[in-house]
Symmetry: C2
Subunit: 564 residues, 2 copies
């Protein structure tokens, strides 16, 4: 028999007004409907209704992880420093990591993710190729000391994640584990009722391991992604590539120097010459591991320094300062052009293709040059996708203009490869008797974040609006208030519960029908069954929370319909 | 269909030898059988088999908490300092508390228990007597920085607890919530298969709130309790009382002073006079909030300073030092007797009853007195049970000699009263329209500790030995090794799984039958079904893990028996 929850006994306090500090739907509605309560910045309490929704999401995740052979474990959240020092992440995480000492002064951290510890577990438990492949997962509390925890349970400092890790002896095995997770994630998000896109997370140009993100489009999302309206291409903006299309370097006029006083910026230059910014070539100087490098992009585009940094990692990228120009007669600040940069590495966006012609700096104060042709007057050392992607940029797959959308990252699957296995020397004995280095994948779903994403995508002006699989109950029975109505409501609730239906029944005394109806809409159970006006005749009204459709039903009809 | 777990795919590595540092059964066996792995001192990873057992215990706890109307919530483990400062526990916990700072320098702690936060939640969510009573619970990770984390998962620094809190407007309501929890705890521990005793945790002499502990007798236990072999009395040693039995003060010989050179201790005195230590009266001097107080107990008994401290709390008890005797001619060190202590408060054990006669100090150097009669020669200001309880002490209920036993505290129920409600001014509007201060109970079960207690109580020389309710599987099917045996084992396992039986099947290739049998005993699933010698005939051997009884069965008989 499923549980019948009586509102008269349930700890749920609904609010008419949004919390003062709430900016996002999930924060406003989960608090107003009594699902969660803020304990500290980015640290939340799950109240009874919220705990049910959270557990429903966790159950779906667990079922699908078990279905692909995942083995559930539970690792600690309080972790010793050493494994994270070995991987380098104890420092890399910077301020994101909660660090603490125990009574003896030993260093610990609160786990932000558990690659290191899982690697150690497998090193300890698996010694032969026969022990692999293995997929391990946990649904566990994670910690990240976000600089600006906000957006309700979307980005907490303490939050719940399902993290899984696969261990294989071959790249093919890893690819298979990756495909299994990809399929499981699709089933999970479909069952939860989330609208999602799978996007490439790492630029193909960089090669290397495969990585995809599961994004739930929502205005409150903190991620931007591109979406092609013409084909099925979608990607993290950082993963978008632009095809290099070389043209002939012949037939261009000769380079011509121009007198362009006081035009150290693209804006001043374009205005002075009366040309669009896109006709000019912008050359940004940066330092890569201390060495000055120039980055060329069309004058109307911005360089994405984060993307540049990822391309060049582990080298460090910094902006140049006035001191860097000292003693460098070849670098004329504000008037740099690639045609005079013999001693400087030149990186360019693929838009600066061979055969394109530009207005750019003449490497002399207050002077620019026109008809500067790539491949004739200068060479590009490395082509990298480093411009900030904009709406309308061509789709790498079909060429149509891309859309830019905001989304919530709800899942991430990643072929880690041997990074952690190398750190911890995770080998198993191979079939040929020799040690084989293990290859790993890591796969995450934000469980508490999925709840937030569901709210952002499905709530309407009346409140929450859950899918059947995650709703805290299947039916919300409302007793309008009179004795006969309460009696009917409790009777129907009891019968539904006996039939295995999860019921929330509003049997509160001294609460007006209007307040009860408003609360039912706010709480968002998919079906609302009202014992109202025609209760004496045994007639109830069934309302679909999402569509608003209403229908009158007898008790028998209601039981039959809802327990179907 | 229940899950069929194949050992060939399960991450479980059994060990023949105990871990070097293991002192207790649960530590040795849970590690050897591949249930848990140590991540750091007192910090454990639950491996696949361990996670199943842990979840089974949690499920039983959850079902019984739901049955008494408990509402499940989930509070954070990372908590702001302020509520714990308000209650005084931020300091009181001392080194037991893990403390840390976030990136902004604000103080946080890892929750050791959540009274403060639950009080705040209820203050926020409940405003009227109509919102109460309420029972809230969570199954959650707790943190205590134990000085000597040891004994496996029995006393971890990170561990799992079910903590519940009741909120009522009246003492009667609290008593009812307490009784509900007491019943639920009895059902939980019975279902888990734990042998337990319910013992009084606070001395009746002190009055006040009721508190009981659920103790699981086990040699590895860190608690000592008394148990009456003749009646059902059981108590924490600190809660044992001794009845005061006054006798006549008439008919005793007069006090007589004795010359007892160099006898400042009970041992030297008893030897000098040739009397048993029990004939002498020991007078311990302590300082209570700075004032000197004497505590009288029979010479053969020890004063339990912890117990004395609890009786006199919040006053602070310290031992006296040499300086405390300066200027106190009435206090002759080593020769104190109550008959001369007019200016000193005299506390005595009930064994020092009116009418008892003693040899004690004469309040002069090297002098003692005999025939010093309580009620004739000195008066007792307060009777308190302060002696260390010993085996053979009389049962307060029936007078029989008590037994002393070691046990593991697996549960604790406690009528907190209004302590936290006072701290946080937790009031609700009463029926008469006036605010009512709320009264609370707190109720804990160590979930990970219950797993350890089960091992300590039920394991045998072959390994773990789970009860059906908590076992990681119902049946452990062992394929002895040949193809026909493996085929039969997998066939039977499949059929059992289809019939709803949870099956672990040892289908490992290249592992000897002997190793498989030893592993099955070590892993401790209640029923072991072997596809061995007579597999070709379709005959299996069923072995009861606990009793060792064996029986040959056909496939059909085995399915019928095990799915019954």
């Amino acid at each position: 028999m499923a549980q019948v929850q009586r509102m008269s006994r349930l700890m749920v306090k609904t609010l008419r007004d949004d919390p003062a500090d709430a900016e996002t739907l999930n924060h406003k509605l989960l608090v107003r409907a009594g699902y969660v309560r803020r304990t500290a910045a980015g640290i939340w309490t799950w109240l009874p209704l919220g705990k049910k929704v959270y557990e429903n999401v966790a159950r779906v995740v667990r079922e699908e992880m078990d279905a692909i052979g995942g083995q559930e474990v539970l690792l600690p959240a309080l972790l010793p420093k050493e494994p994270y020092e070995a991987s380098g992440r104890y420092e890399e995480y910077g301020d994101l990591l909660f660090r603490l000492k125990d009574r003896k002064g030993s260093d610990y951290l609160l786990g932000p993710t558990h690659e290191e510890i899982f690697t150690q577990v497998v090193k300890d438990q698996c010694s032969s190729y026969k022990d692999l492949p293995v997929i391990l997962y946990q649904i566990q509390t994670k910690y990240r000391d976000e600089a600006r925890p906000r957006a309700g349970v979307l980005r907490g400092r303490e939050f719940q994640m399902k993290d899984a890790y696969s261990f294989d002896t071959s790249d093919e095995g890893l690819a298979e584990a990756y495909a299994l997770h990809r399929g499981a994630y699709q089933r999970i998000f479909e069952r939860l009722g989330l609208d999602y896109r799978i996007v490439s997370a790492v630029s193909g140009a960089m090669g290397g391991s495969q990585s995809e993100e599961f994004l739930a489009p929502a205005p409150a999302g903190e991620d931007t992604f591109v979406d092609c309206p013409a084909c099925d291409y979608a990607a993290n903006t950082e993963a978008v590539t632009f095809a290099l299309k070389p043209a002939s370097t012949e037939g261009h006029p000769a380079v011509e120097e121009l007198d362009t006083p006081d035009t150290p910026t693209i804006e001043t230059l374009a205005e002075h010459l009366g040309v669009p910014a896109s006709a000019t070539l912008k050359n940004l100087l940066v330092k890569v591991d201390g060495e000055i490098v120039a980055v060329g992009v069309p004058g109307d585009r911005e360089v994405d320094l984060g993307k540049l940094g990822e391309h060049l990692a582990p080298a460090e990228v910094e902006l140049v300062t006035a001191e860097d120009f000292e003693g460098r007669a070849d670098l004329v600040r504000g008037y740099v052009g690639p045609q005079g940069l013999d001693k400087v590495r030149y990186i360019a966006d693929p838009r600066v293709a061979p055969g394109t012609s530009w207005i750019t700096g003449a490497n002399k104060p207050d002077r620019h040059a026109r008809n500067v042709v790539c491949g004739r007057d200068f060479e590009v050392d490395d082509y990298l996708d480093v411009v900030v992607v904009e709406a309308g940029d061509p789709c790498p797959a079909c060429g149509a203009g891309l859309k830019l959308d905001r989304a919530i990252e709800i899942g991430h699957i990643f072929q880690l490869g041997r990074k952690y296995a190398d750190t911890f020397q995770l080998d198993v004995l191979g079939q040929n008797g020799k040690p084989v280095r293990v290859t790993m994948g890591s796969y995450g779903i934000g469980v508490s974040r999925a709840v937030a994403a569901l709210v952002e995508q499905t709530a309407d002006e009346h409140g929450l609006c859950w899918s059947k699989e995650v709703a805290p109950a299947d039916v919300h029975v409302v007793a309008a208030g009179k004795a006969v109505q309460t009696e009917l409501a409790l009777d129907v609730a009891g019968q539904l519960g006996a039939a295995g239906v999860r019921v929330l029944v509003d049997d509160r005394a001294g609460v007006s029908p209007g307040v009860k109806f408003t609360d039912a809409e706010l709480i968002g159970v998919p079906q609302i069954l009202v014992a109202g006006r025609r209760s004496a005749e045994g007639v109830l009204e069934l309302k679909d929370r999402r569509t608003g459709e209403r229908e009158e039903l007898s008790v028998a009809e209601a039981i039959a319909r809802l327990s179907a």
